[in-house]
């Protein structure tokens, strides 16, 4: 039974999110699996040390053998003995546009994944369920590509200067005005890399004496930005509003640790869609809390911009809220716009401040012109300003694909995490051997999927992650579902007992984590 939340009228639509419990037997078997792998790992290390087995690792130079070792032996234990076995599931090289179908270069390994050789053959037309191509703008033909080609021949590929020096082109101004209009905010600023947008702008906004409340499962860029800022970081349980409220109350009432001075600012860091869980942030509740406690909200819409909402304007549009309630709207252009880079949108004072004090504006090269043109054309397409309804159709197609795919997978009996409307679909695998097996079996059947294990996920919760796209037709989805069904039966992945745990059953407990500045 799905638990549908109508929290005091804050939500205008049902919020269905579910994370089914790991079955006990599966958890035990997973630990056993890791235990066996660890034992074998020790055995192999022993054999390598005593030269019974050839050591394939790259080694230090002869002249530097008496230097302090660069890597700790144990640090690489996981790498050498677990990751290396299934390394062929990652870093798969492709040689065509990363659209709904992709061509992959075939590679084989004759020494159990230590080295790869390319056979020269190309596996054609693999259904691509791994690329972040939510609205299908990864195209090598069409309006966007032609516009980018024109700008490339006019402006060249690079810029060779920073924004504050000589790198501010007229195209940058055009892009920023358009992004601000798209998001419904006063002003916006664009940067060359999404990761750097977070890691360089959070330190500009908060510093020592401020408090950052960050979700448990935030992305590495948010964590790095928070650490570099020097503020105190406290972590609340994933998407758990009671945990967040308790932290807020405690923070304001007790002030800074030890000195008891009041906090200068409190910033809440959340993401729109969490890409490993497929969950959507409870934005109406977060905004209600933010208003009640006078804190600031930093929303990272890396995956949700373009992918959620009836007009593709992200999680704010999805919940029907006012974009002015979010103090800092950050997002990336990599996922739904088929380009690269990031942006921050907000009030004019905020953006003026960032133009002056952001690390990226002063020290980093500005965005490349053809990339900007791709973003401009794709935003115009989504907004419908290019005169067609292509953008709207794509947004609707993505929503339909999402609902259909998730429903079918749940019916088949797999454990699927996350929100009903999120185009990121994590399918639980749990056991380490199944990670490699799933990736390989799906590739044999011409479907490319992404599998993730430790350390990106908790150790027993490894998963396969499907990223749906508006470019996937129903036939492609049906083929994919048929193959997933087959592989699921082969590898016994259908763990679900159709017992969807009600939402509030993830109990919030007293443990909160505090990371103080060092």
């Amino acid at each position: 039974v799905n638990h549908i939340v109508h929290n005091g009228g804050l939500y205008k639509r049902p919020f269905n999110e579910a994370f089914e419990e790991t079955p006990m037997l599966v958890a035990v078997l997973t630990y056993v699996g890791y235990g066996v792998l660890t034992l074998f790992g020790y055995l192999r290390d022993f054999m390598r040390q005593w030269k019974i087995e050839k050591c394939q690792n790259a080694t230090e130079r002869e002249e530097q053998k008496d230097f302090v070792p660069l890597y700790q032996d144990f640090e690489n234990f996981y790498n050498r003995n677990l990751y290396m076995r299934i390394r062929d599931s990652w870093n798969r090289p492709i040689c065509s546009v990363p659209g709904a179908r992709v061509d992959m270069m075939e590679r084989v390994s004759h020494d159990y994944n230590w080295t790869f050789t390319y056979t020269g053959r190309v596996i054609k037309d693999i259904i691509n369920m791994g690329s972040y191509n939510y609205l299908g703008f990864a195209q090598n033909a069409g309006v966007c590509q032609e516009a980018a080609a024109k700008v490339l021949s006019q402006y060249g590929a690079g810029v060779c200067s920073t924004r504050q020096e000589m790198g501010n082109l007229d195209k940058h101004e055009e892009l920023e005005k358009l992004v601000a209009r798209f998001l419904g905010v006063e002003s916006a600023m664009a940067y060359g890399m999404g990761f750097a947008t977070n890691s360089m702008n959070i330190p500009a906004l908060v510093g020592k004496g401020c408090l950052i409340l960050s979700d448990e499962l935030n992305h590495a860029s948010l964590v790095l930005g928070a650490r570099l800022s020097g503020a105190t970081i406290r972590i609340f349980k994933h998407n758990n509003m009671q945990s967040l409220e308790k932290l807020l109350k405690d923070a304001i009432v007790h002030g800074q640790p030890r000195t008891r001075r009041p906090w200068k600012k409190i910033l809440i860091l959340v993401e729109g869609i969490y890409s490993m869980e497929g969950s959507i942030v409870r934005l109406p509740e977060v905004i209600a809390l933010k208003k009640k406690y006078k804190t600031y909200l930093y929303l990272d819409e890396a995956h949700s911009i373009g992918a959620l909402g009836p007009s593709g304007r992200g999680v704010v549009d999805y919940f029907g809220l006012n974009p002015e309630d979010v103090d800092v709207m950050m997002g990336t252009f990599t996922k739904s716009f088929g380009a690269a880079g990031g942006y921050i949108g907000g009030k004019k004072e905020l953006i003026d401040y960032l133009r002056t004090y952001s690390h990226s504006a002063v020290y980093a090269t500005s965005m490349s012109p053809p990339v900007m043109e791709q973003i401009i054309t794709s935003i115009k397409c989504i907004m419908g300003e290019d005169g067609t309804t292509v953008g709207r159709a794509r947004v609707q197609q993505l929503a339909e694909n999402t609902r259909y795919f998730r429903r079918r997978l749940k019916e088949m009996g797999f454990i699927i995490y996350g929100n009903e409307d999120s185009p990121v679909v994590p399918l639980m695998l749990y056991m380490p051997a199944k990670i490699g097996a799933f990736g390989r079996e799906m590739l044999k059947r011409n479907i490319g999927v992404v599998v993730v294990g430790f350390p990106a996920t908790p150790i027993i919760e490894s998963r396969a992650r499907f990223c749906l796209s508006a470019a996937h037709t129903k036939e492609m989805l049906d083929t994919a579902l048929k193959e997933v069904n087959e592989v699921g039966d082969l590898l016994q992945l259908k763990y679900s007992r159709h017992r969807l745990v009600p939402l509030l059953d993830r109990p919030f407990d007293e443990t909160t984590y505090e990371e103080t500045e060092d």
Binding site: V97, G158, S161, M193, I252, Y296, T334, Y357, V362, P370
Partner: protein, 456 residues
């Protein structure tokens, strides 16, 4: 009925103990200020945060950007005026090279613009693999790794190797990206005076005596020296041969940042190692960005596989970020081709640098800071007024005078509160291969005029 003796003694002790406990002072483990619910609500009501950002004055020098219409090439249109470009780091003039553009166009037709994924998840294209191979071959190292953003290259490379407890000796004039990388690594940072090998040796000797006090800890503490080939902030070169000697004497690893010297120094443009004739294996890691000589976007690190391969799983900017758009990688490959086919451009560039270095000497009020063969020079005020803001305003007037007369210049921009060792305000002069001798002379004479009229 007599109880045994030990019984009585035991009971006596117990009774005494109970009496003692009854009379001892109780103390609480924690001073808990239990506030009532009402008090808590009052505190929450009263608390006022600072505004998210302080207001920025409208005439702040960094707020009003120059707007460049059209491509930032040799002839650049800044704020509506056509000028000769002395401000973009387009050293080899490859920004509007037709071959580079057509290679990028071909890549755009094949792959589209974005890669839609990080390197681990279907974001590795054959173009990336080819670029990495070409860079490794060009620099004569085993392996190279590409990042999609120049700043993120060294800022992700340093924390991948240097962790909490390790020691890094870094030059004072290191650029901001290195400073951020060091901050993210949480290691012990020891700054040595710019290019002062004696100071560095002193620090290393101090560290050696520390080590002798605690040899166990010293055996697991990694040490690094981080230097730049050509320093962005001062325009001079680092004394690499002495550093190599120090490396082997004190067993420290060297990380070299070659953003300005890649494609500039050396007979074939391989950077400072070729300039000094040093074996490239002696440097543990070379990092450079592709945004200067290669006129693309992104950065790379190269070195031995033992070192570089580690970044494929621990480099944050590599694992958690989308890969470089293929058209930019193709542009970089074509730029590399041009560099390999025309090795005489480096000599041409150096000759132009020497020319303008001589021509800029003797300007009253401004002094040239940097090596004679460095393509990125600084012009600082000979006599500072003591207040940084006034210096910046004076230099702005010089820059505006030059811009009005057709030479595009810019001031070097810094984050004044965040830099560890803030360089004095200066005007950046960038020399490219495309500038003719007349243009160089024109720039020099214009700067003389500007300095005369503004500073006297």
């Amino acid at each position: 009925f007599q109880a045994p003796a030990y019984h009585l003694i035991l009971e006596g002790i117990l009774i005494l103990w109970i009496i003692r406990l009854l009379f001892s002072k109780t103390y609480k483990l924690q001073e808990r200020s239990d506030l009532t619910l009402k008090e808590k609500e009052e505190l929450i009501e009263e608390w006022q945060p600072e505004p998210l950002v302080p207001p920025v004055p409208k005439d702040h020098p960094a707020l009003n950007y120059n707007i460049v219409s059209g491509p930032p090439t040799h002839i650049i249109t800044v704020n509506g005026k056509e000028c000769i470009n002395f401000a973009s780091f387009n050293f080899l003039g490859l920004l509007d090279n037709e071959k580079v553009k057509s290679a990028a166009q071909a890549s755009l037709k094949k792959y589209g613009v974005g890669t839609c994924g990080p390197r681990g998840f279907y974001g590795t294209f054959d173009v990336h693999l080819e670029l990495e191979e070409r860079l490794a071959k060009f620099m004569r190292t085993e392996e190279a790794i590409i990042y999609s953003y120049g700043f993120a290259t060294i800022a992700s490379a340093i924390p991948a190797y240097s962790k909490r407890g390790d020691i890094v000796f870094v030059d004072e004039a290191a650029c901001f990206a290195i400073q951020k990388g060091l901050q993210a690594s949480r290691s012990n940072i020891k700054l040595f005076k710019h290019n002062d090998m004696a100071d560095l040796e002193r620090l290393l000797k101090e560290q050696e005596t520390e080590d002798q006090k605690n040899p166990r800890k010293a055996r697991v503490t990694r040490r690094f020296i981080v230097v730049e080939g050509l320093y962005m902030n001062t325009g001079d070169i680092c004394p690499l041969p002495e550093l190599i000697k120090l490396k082997y004497k004190y067993k420290v690893r060297i990380f070299l940042e070659e953003s300005l010297s890649f494609g500039v120094l050396g007979e074939h443009g391989r950077g400072i190692t070729e300039h000094f004739g040093i074996n490239i294996d002696d440097i543990d890691l070379i990092s450079a960005n592709m945004e200067n000589s290669l006129a693309s976007i992104g950065g790379f690190c190269c070195g031995r596989s033992f070192i570089i391969d580690h970044q494929r799983l621990s480099g944050q900017g590599y694992c958690f970020s989308a890969s470089l758009p293929p058209l930019l990688a193709a542009a970089a490959i074509e730029a590399l081709n041009i560099m390999e086919d025309n090795p005489d451009i480096f000599q041409t560039l150096r000759a132009k640098c020497e020319h303008i270095y001589k021509a800029l000497q003797g300007i009253s009020g401004l002094k040239v800071v940097g090596e004679s063969f460095s393509p990125a020079l600084h012009l600082q005020l000979e006599e500072s007024s003591g207040v940084r803001e006034n210096d910046v305003k004076l230099l702005k007037r010089v820059v505006d005078y030059c811009m009005n007369s057709g030479i595009a210049l810019t001031q070097a921009r810094y984050l004044e509160k965040e830099e560890k060792c803030l360089p004095p305000p200066s005007i950046r002069v960038v020399i490219t291969v495309e500038q003719t001798e007349q243009e160089l002379d024109k720039a020099a004479s214009l700067l003389k005029e500007a300095a005369q009229s503004v500073l006297n």
